[in-house]
């Protein structure tokens, strides 16, 4: 408290070992390599990532009346709509799985992908005031967003399991398969895809503002060309290759195969999709690294 007085009496203390070996010198230059991703530095910011995740979660429910209940209401409500519109009115096939569960699985997985993609794509624009004032590894934000959404996914997945339990105890057959073991991998792939695509879009919006308007629309359209509300088996044989081109297809088929026992996916398809995800992530990192440094000049 008595700041000045105390310090006047203390002789200046030189910082001993100030240049600790743990911290390499910070070098700022005009050009930076495409591959200078500084992932080690990102790791040093793990506390900040954790705090952002927690902030996102806490601040959302502090502002609303229903609070975390929204995480429950939204997927249930959307699932009911899907069941009525696509299941009842349009009469789409669900490969024999209970309609409500079929749509719920698709919806929970898609919601995770869509919202983390949407959030990460807006990283620069949404955080411009923050980025303009302080430096921390810029990937902290996209990574924390993908993890925040994981929390929401966890809640929704819990509800899904509860609904499945209700189905089970009311005598309906639930076909869990060994693919359940793959679920963490499938989820990680969704995270990877949303992060990769998100930071690519985010880097491109630095140049093309129009893109940010396209994102929401694009994600919506993407849902219809991904087997989310229909199984890929309903696609006629001659167009099968088309739906297989979509690297998200095996992930969604995998989710349903694991939880409902319906869906067609092979390890090879999943492997290919995984490889595609890695390519996307690397492309994202390259672009993001290029744009990140001078983005603040264009906002």
């Amino acid at each position: 408290m008595s700041t000045t007085v105390a310090s006047l009496q203390n002789p200046p203390e030189p910082v001993s070992g100030g240049r600790s070996a743990a911290i390499p010198p910070t070098v700022i230059t005009a050009e930076r390599s495409w591959f200078d991703w500084r992932l080690k530095q990102l790791w040093r910011y793990r506390d900040l990532i954790a705090l952002f995740v927690w902030r996102d979660f806490v601040s959302v429910y502090k502002q609303t009346i229903l609070g975390p209940a929204w995480h429950i209401i939204r997927p249930l409500f959307t699932t009911v709509i899907f069941t009525v519109v696509f299941g009842q009115i349009a009469g789409l096939s669900t490969d024999g799985a209970p309609k409500f569960l079929f749509y719920m699985v698709g919806n929970v997985a898609w919601t995770y992908f869509a919202s983390s993609l949407d959030n990460t794509a807006k990283t620069f624009v949404a955080n411009a005031p923050l980025f303009g004032k302080v430096y921390f590894h810029r990937l902290v934000i996209p990574v924390s967003l993908v993890i925040s959404n994981l929390v929401a996914f966890g809640i929704q997945f819990g509800i899904l399991l509860t609904v499945m339990g209700i189905y089970h105890f009311s005598g309906q057959q639930i076909h869990l398969t060994m693919w359940l073991l793959w679920l963490p991998v499938l989820l990680a792939m969704l995270a990877g895809y949303s992060l990769g695509a998100g930071i690519i879009i985010c880097a491109m919006t630095a140049r093309y503002r129009d893109l940010s308007y396209l994102v929401t629309f694009g994600i919506q359209s993407l849902m219809y060309v991904t087997p989310v509300i229909y199984p890929s088996s309903t696609i006629p044989e001659k167009f099968q290759w088309l739906i297989r081109l979509n690297p998200l297809t095996p992930i969604f088929e995998g989710f349903r195969l694991a939880l409902l026992g319906v869906g067609s996916v092979t390890a090879a398809q999943l492997g290919l999709s995984f490889a595609a995800m890695l390519v996307l992530l690397v492309a994202g990192l390259l672009l993001f690294t290029r744009v990140e440094r001078t983005f603040m000049d264009t906002v």
Binding site: T3, A6, P14, V15, G18, D47, G132, V134, Y208
Partner: protein, 441 residues
């Protein structure tokens, strides 16, 4: 080698007008035009398609080099637009330079703003952790200093209240408290001290000198010359994006004050006055006691505002007014040519000069905005000029810079001997009791 920060040939250019590059449609049109070998549709007439690259360039920083020794507190001074903020942004890695190189040894923390990332819905406690982490502290570090931070901020009673319920002063105090407990080897500070009430500012300055005494290296950018003088032995003076001088702070400040003949000190009518107006302002300028145009004044010298007005005809009874507003937007005072006579006056046809003196040792250090009007109050506004700005730097002895108040006039103090009731001297009739007994206890 003791230099902990070395800045070498740093430059930063901004492309005016070309920022962001526009829309996808525009780029697509440009690309399509190139394919068909047509001129670029987005470039202006008479320009070729390379205009974008070579066109309007703004050099915010040009070939800036300096070294900072370990444990040194280096001041960075210069007028608005001299490149201080750009330099800070580059050193804080908020943006990248166009060319040049900076090497910094050790942990770097920069404070370009107090309270960056504060979330209104979160409590004070939660924001301390969040803000600390944003500034580069780990959770463990924040936890170990939490009590100190709260004590420093004087917000202990409200620490579990959402920050949105805080007064602005409280949130600034909390934010600065977090920042003040950063322990990097290199601290880069912008004019964050310009926030909060003056008492807290004083506390912040105290903390800053404590930090520097602790052997840490500080780069301090400020308009507050008093603070720069006290905290920094050496300062860099930036001017137009270049380093004009590096040396003892006193020299740099003197050079800064001497060289500031800004365009903002003079306004002169460039276009013909509207014929509808009976009277119009011709020229408004700020001068020092030597009669020189300047926009930077020492607090120990008077400021002369000179106004020239030209009447086409003999006017109705009216007045010429000027108003001084400080950086916080507070009107410091308003003064008019009619103040003494208590009545509006009609001006004869022709040009007339006015000179107003703002006395020395009256204005506080800070920046000011001058507005001048020729008008009939609440009726007709003949003319209005609001492009004049100036700053006052505190150059008075050490005891004055801690004074609080919108103005810091030097008043006459008379001492009386004995324990006589002072009010008797002021009011022989005992008519007014000051009523200060309760305060004196």
């Amino acid at each position: 080698m003791a230099s902990i920060i070395s800045v070498g040939h740093l430059s930063k250019t901004y492309r005016l007008g070309a920022i962001g590059g526009g829309t996808l449609q525009e780029d697509f049109a440009r690309w399509w035009a190139r394919i068909r070998r047509k001129p670029d549709p987005s470039s202006g007439i008479g320009h070729d398609h390379r205009t974008r690259q070579t066109g309007n360039v703004f050099r915010a920083l040009e070939d800036v080099s300096f070294e900072v020794d370990e444990g040194e507190v280096l001041g960075v001074v210069g007028r608005n637009g001299a490149g201080k903020s750009t330099l800070l942004k580059i050193l804080s890695q908020v943006t990248a330079p166009t060319s040049g190189r900076v090497v910094m040894h050790g942990r770097v923390a920069s404070l370009l703003e107090v309270g960056t990332g504060f979330h209104p819905e979160l409590t004070g406690r939660e924001n301390v952790f969040l803000n600390g982490a944003i500034l580069g502290m780990t959770k463990a570090e924040i936890r170990s200093k939490f009590d100190e931070i709260v004590a420093f901020s004087e917000c202990a009673a409200f620490i579990d209240t959402p920050v949105k319920r805080y007064s602005s002063g409280m949130s600034v105090r909390l934010a600065f408290a977090v920042a003040a407990h950063l322990e990097p080897e290199i601290l880069i500070v912008d004019e964050v001290l310009a926030v909060g009430d003056a008492q807290f500012q004083h506390k912040c300055l105290g903390r800053m000198s404590e930090v520097s005494r602790g052997g840490r290296t500080v780069l301090f950018v400020s308009h507050n010359m008093g603070a720069v003088r006290r905290l920094c032995k050496r300062s860099v003076l930036l001017d137009g994006g270049r380093v004009r001088s590096i040396g003892p702070s006193d020299d740099a400040i003197a050079e800064y004050l001497g060289g500031a003949t800004a365009s903002s000190a003079l306004w002169r009518r460039t276009e013909p006055a509207p014929a509808s107006s009976d009277i119009c302002l011709e020229e408004v300028s700020l001068r020092n006691s030597a009669g020189e145009l300047t926009s930077a004044f020492a607090s120990t010298e008077p400021v002369f505002v000179t106004i020239a007005a030209k009447a086409r005809v003999r006017t109705r009874p009216m007045q010429i007014t000027f108003r001084l507003t400080n950086a916080e937007g507070i009107v410091v005072f308003t003064s008019a040519n009619t103040d003494e006579g208590h009545a509006l006056v009609a001006l004869d046809e022709g040009t007339r000069q006015f000179r107003v003196e703002i006395p020395a040792l009256f204005l506080s250090a800070g920046s000011y905005h001058v507005e001048v009007a020729a008008h009939v109050p609440r009726e007709t506004l003949f003319d209005f000029v609001d492009s004049i700005h100036f700053s006052v730097e505190d150059t008075w002895a050490a005891v004055r810079h801690d004074l609080l108040g919108v103005v810091t006039p030097q008043l006459t103090w008379t001492a009386f001997s004995g324990s006589a009731n002072v009010s008797r001297h002021l009011h022989p009739t005992h008519g007014i009791s000051v009523g200060s007994d309760a305060h004196n206890r």
